[in-house]
Symmetry: C2
Subunit: 337 residues, 2 copies
Amino acid sequence: MVNGQLTVDAKLAKRVRDAIREMGYLPNLQARALGSGRSRVLGLIISELTNPFYPELVRSFEDLAETSDFEIMLGSVIHKNDEHLNRFVRRLVQRRVEGVAVMTFRADWDYLHELILHNIPLVTIDAAAPRARCLVVEVDYRSGIDQAIQHLALLGHRRIAFVSGPLQHFTNQARRDAFLDSVRKVGLRAKDTPVYEGDHTFEAGAAAIGHFLSLRDRPTAILSSNDLTAVGVLRGLSERRMQVPEEISVIGFDDIHMAEFAHPPLSTVRMSREDLAAAAFQGLMRLTQHSSPYAPEPIRVKTQLVVRQSTGPQTNAVTAKADSARRTGTAAACSGE
Amino acid sequence: MVNGQLTVDAKLAKRVRDAIREMGYLPNLQARALGSGRSRVLGLIISELTNPFYPELVRSFEDLAETSDFEIMLGSVIHKNDEHLNRFVRRLVQRRVEGVAVMTFRADWDYLHELILHNIPLVTIDAAAPRARCLVVEVDYRSGIDQAIQHLALLGHRRIAFVSGPLQHFTNQARRDAFLDSVRKVGLRAKDTPVYEGDHTFEAGAAAIGHFLSLRDRPTAILSSNDLTAVGVLRGLSERRMQVPEEISVIGFDDIHMAEFAHPPLSTVRMSREDLAAAAFQGLMRLTQHSSPYAPEPIRVKTQLVVRQSTGPQTNAVTAKADSARRTGTAAACSGE
DNA sequence: GGTGCTCAAGAAAACGGTTTCTCAAGATGC
DNA sequence: GCATCTTGAGAAACCGTTTTCTTGAGCACC
């Protein structure tokens, strides 16, 4: 009755329900989990919470989980040593999670072996763990990077540099490859599209700028593989007293909060955390419904350019304060979005 | 045996343990919780994860929880409506959490009544919920704000403004009062220490600057009640082409990541998230050990000035590019830390 | 009216551990 | 040597739900 069937008098039902509330009764979820064999807990593994990319993702994922009455167990990978990591994964199993979303972009699955052993549904990003009951969320880097490059090309830029993350990670290769394809598509050649391999830190941005400005043919626009590094690029430029976007344009990737508050506000390729979370959650729901070795299609998530004020038309003047030109450029860019 | 007593042959014990591992056995924590009556889950309530103050706090708290074999259930208050909030609190009770750390700075406890009803240990910040089994973490705003004001006074500033958060919150009153006390201590008068009430957003910073610059006696230094607003102040100044710290000094509060990456890097009063998390966790452990109506002393957490590059000596020149002076000033300030 | 069927309510078993109880063997004291 | 205390192993009860099983009532049909 309490669980919602309608075989008894509605009025009586209401009275009973009121009495239950009155006494402050709340079912014990542990007991329920034990009895039903369903814990209603999901695992969520991220790189780390202090990476500004993740809080939004976690929040979206939690919201989804909440509306479906799931709890989530959060674990970050980066600052943990292997010992800690294994402990965390073991706890996931001990709490009998019904599935785990692995939202980190590195592609080694060793630390997940305990989950695989217990045949727990898994959702990963970019690349699948080698096993059944694993679903991939494929981020479509190309769509957003294409937009970024076309935006720059439209503004007249013919020399566009790229700051990548560590190329040992599959995801960073994918981003760089997307960049190289895009610039080729708008007719630029390899020597006009230099790539600098950074490490996704703030400092890498300043280092990249040091490198690019030492080139004979300096790029007039820079695309960075993540926002933090792009902000580092902005800082490096500001320290060299170079004006953005008058002298050089900068585009980031991710669209973290900081991008909006950067100086100038950073144009960037947005990878929607909401979409990512939704894809991951949906994927888990799908996997949990099929207990058989079920291998569904990957879920794709698009990326998209967000134009702010760090991009403007290419000019040859090195010191020109082309303020009015910039305004026009920005307006044009915005309308192109 | 499995739980670690030493009554049987050590070798046999090892063999048994190996066999257990071999078979992939892991105890079911739900069953354990049900049997023992201890869930080993703690609640952690924060304002919201996308507020850059919190990720570090959550991480620290999680680390502590992990080493003591606790799980945490995370909930954010801000973006939830009352309906959602009540659901979350109810879930805390349903999972039979052993205690809840309420790490949000607002002081209304209505939404916690379910926790109070079930006599669940509570740790709060700044002010205690009106009940037993509740422990307060008292943030010592005065220590850090004193340091900030003395730092500015030493640099020659005699007109120091304050941007507060919404004064309906107890915590913001405390910060403002600490400011007023501090400036009085270094001999400044009310008319030279104007206060602007903002709302802790980025935009509030620009608004505050608009107000302060319209005053007849402009302040030469600004202390903000949080970092995001301070960054907004920096932005407002930059839009007015005013140099920081040559023309005006700025100090924030909190020491979020962004502070370091601001332009220029923001001097700020650090409220240590590690300390806060440690205090909260310790408090919960203390409370859970005493089931009786036990009212322990509050735990105090200090704040501390961090000097970066947004503060420099007061100069009368409005447009002077006092670069060398600034360098010296910064160095002096650093050594004073 | 007896037989077979459906249905729902209540009892019992299960979930996987912890905690408590029981009881017999061994140690201790006189 | 006998009564008492201590010890530890194994059995039993328990935690609070869900799930399955049992039972008996109600009903249609021949």
